[in-house]
């Protein structure tokens, strides 16, 4: 009974993803084409014959609509085509190289942020309007307000340069090189999640069924864990979908400052160079990641909140 409801909910949501992605691809495709310039507009003007050859090779000489349908047919097979800028690289290869790095850092940052954020938020809610509450929320506000391009150099300066505990940057998949970027990425998210958790936790703790749980004779820890945590975490869960997508697809700032070969730098480079296929590839990939994560969030939501399942007809 419970399982069936969840399964039907999942299929309905899954079918809704297809049009979302199609619209995303369409808008991205025509937007990047509308931007002035093209991939081969360098400082050095190419001879017209060479230019014509290049355009023909990449099908840029065809009408735009035809190119669009060609591209659609291509990505349905999962092929993002060759990069215009990085010769001898396909977009698939670039993503395959950059994404694991970005995803590792982003995933770890999200994990850290979720655990710490909900913990801090719950603590603040339990000690509402106390010194603990005010100081934790004050620090959290700071965490949100200070941009990461300030936090990152500060961390490097203190932890790497002065103290010399960790390397200042670079990438070799060792945990030492992950610590600083993960912390930098996680800080504002920790702060945001803590604030979200605090707010909803305070509300939940005042609800009647929490009073019932206390009257049942549950120890306070169980009251929180079994009755208060799930509903209090709902807003955090819905925030986590897009937030996780943003984190694991790579932050340009972080990747630049810590010299990390992630997906974010490719994206910006691609956009600046009018590397159509690379930009499109990353956009579509990014879109799929967001849509899939939101889908997971929806499922989590339904699992955490049985009432939602029956709202879908």
């Amino acid at each position: 009974m419970r399982q069936e409801g969840l399964l039907r909910h999942a299929t309905t949501r899954l079918l809704g993803l297809v049009p979302t992605l199609l619209i995303l691809i369409t808008i991205a495709f025509f937007l990047i084409r509308m931007a002035p310039g093209g991939p081969f507009d360098g400082e050095k003007v190419l001879p017209p014959e060479i230019r014509a050859n290049l355009d023909a090779n990449y099908h840029l000489d065809e009408p735009l609509l035809q190119q669009y349908f060609r591209y659609l047919g291509q990505i349905i097979t999962g092929d993002f085509g060759p990069s215009f800028q990085y010769k001898d690289w396909t977009v698939n290869e670039l993503i395959a190289q950059g994404f694991p790095v970005s995803a590792t850092i982003g995933g770890l940052a999200m994990l850290l942020a979720f655990v710490l954020g909900t913990l801090i938020g719950t603590l603040a809610a339990l000690r509402q309007n106390s010194a603990v509450d005010y100081s934790v929320m004050g620090v959290a506000m700071l965490g949100i307000s200070i941009p990461n391009f300030v936090v990152a150099p500060l961390l490097i300066l203190v932890v790497a340069v002065y103290a010399g505990w960790l390397p200042a940057g670079g990438w070799d998949w060792s945990w030492q090189r992950m610590v600083l970027p993960v912390i930098t990425l996680a800080l504002p998210v920790i702060a945001y999640i803590a604030r979200l958790t605090r707010g909803s936790m305070i509300e939940v703790l005042h609800s009647n069924y929490i009073r019932t749980a206390r009257a049942k004779g549950l120890p306070e820890l169980l009251v929180i864990r079994r009755h208060a945590l799930k509903p209090a975490i709902l807003p955090v869960i819905s925030y986590m979908g897009p937030a996780t997508a943003a984190l694991i697809t790579g932050s340009v700032v972080i990747e630049r400052i810590y010299s990390i070969p992630g997906l974010g730098s490719y994206f910006v480079q691609g956009a600046l160079n009018r590397d159509y296929t690379l930009v499109m590839g990353v956009v579509v990939f990014y879109g799929v990641v967001i849509v899939v994560l939101n889908f997971i969030v929806d499922l989590l939501y339904a699992w955490l909140n049985p009432r939602i399942r029956y709202d879908v007809t």
Binding site: M1, A215, K230, N305
Partner: protein, 339 residues
């Protein structure tokens, strides 16, 4: 008479609130419950009535230890509950349970009816076999008039009356000796109210429960109580046997409450409206009247009421009243209440 299971002595609960800004902060004290005392015998039902804000629910929660008591004692079978630490008080939940006012909101919307009822068992008997827990849960559901095959449904799939049945099953699953019902029917339709009250009455007889039944409606309390306490602004105005209270109220406030019970006969109702007794609203709990706290609304007040605080005193027939004029007044009910 047997020894009382519950003795409440001079119980008081005070809430503080703050007004003003950061610098000129003032603390205001609200005496929600102010010196309540009563005894409760095993198997007895005490009804508590009063207007909204008279401190009934706070009294209920204070007895359970769900709010902090600022003065007085709650004695449960010879043992003092006030001042017990959290863990010791928690253990007492096996013996003292409560049914709450809003049946739907009081149930966790993310748990099934079965889980809600079984949770006290998991907590106090963690080693109990799963099958045994389920059997007991189904048994409880049957006892309160729910279908045991509804065990996997969520609260929003039940009606308000059914939710209150879940609440009652949940409160009784540990076999308590005292059940505090905090306006258990005020959120329900009248037809459902009767069902729930009859259910509570049957269960009390079957299980030998002592019952504290809170309502703002005298007619509801009448049906179930042995004795009735009338509260006003946190204080007891009258504590009397049901028969004598409904025949001849001793306190003008009790009388006023009686007169405000809707009469299901238009002719009588018009007459009742004409001699509406209760004037105005309850005064602000921050500015308690001097003398008798009821004097400014009392149609029978005399000079003395404005100065002297009437003590809650025992009359010859064993009833208690806090009114200077209790003996001289005759507030007998002339029209026999219908139904």
């Amino acid at each position: 008479m047997s020894k009382p299971v519950l003795r409440v002595q001079d119980l008081a609960v005070t809430f503080s609130s703050y007004t003003g800004g950061l610098l000129n902060r003032h603390e205001r004290q609200l005496r929600a419950v102010d010196g309540i005392s009563f005894d409760l015998d095993p198997g007895e039902t005490l009804g508590i009535v009063g207007e909204s804000g008279s401190g009934k629910s706070t009294l209920a929660r204070a007895i359970l230890g769900l709010v902090k008591v600022s003065r007085g004692r709650v004695m449960w079978r010879g043992e003092e509950l006030t001042g017990l630490d959290e863990e010791a008080l928690r253990q007492k939940r096996k013996e003292i349970q409560i049914v709450f006012q809003d049946p739907v909101a009081s149930l966790n919307p993310r748990m099934t009816a079965g889980d809600i009822i079984a949770e006290p068992l998991w907590t106090f008997y963690p080693n109990m076999e799963r099958l045994q827990v389920e059997e007991r849960t189904r048994g409880m559901m049957k006892m309160v008039g729910l279908l045991p095959n509804q065990i996997n449904r969520y609260p929003h799939e039940f009606s308000g009356g059914q939710c209150q049945r879940i609440g009652i099953a949940r409160s009784l699953v540990l076999n308590p000796k005292l059940l505090v019902c905090d306006e258990p029917v005020s959120a329900l339709d009248v037809s459902i109210q009767a069902q729930i009250i009859n259910l509570l009455k049957d269960l009390q007889k079957k299980l030998g429960l002592a019952l504290i039944f809170i309502a703002h409606d005298l007619s509801v309390v009448r049906h179930i109580s042995d004795r009735v306490m009338v509260m006003y602004m946190g204080q007891a105005m009258e504590v009397a046997e049901k028969a004598s209270l409904y025949r001849r109220p001793l306190h003008p406030y009790t009388n006023a409450l009686m007169k405000s019970v809707p009469v299901p006969d238009p002719k009588l109702a018009a007459a009742a409206r004409q001699e509406s007794w209760l004037k105005g609203d309850m005064p602000s709990p921050y500015q308690r009247p001097k003398g008798c706290i009821f004097h400014n609304r009392c149609p029978l007040r005399v000079k003395r009421c404005e100065a002297d605080v009437p003590a809650l005193r025992r009359l010859e027939n064993g009833d208690w009243v806090a009114c200077h004029r209790a003996e001289e007044l005759d507030l007998s009910i002339q029209v026999p209440a219908s139904g």
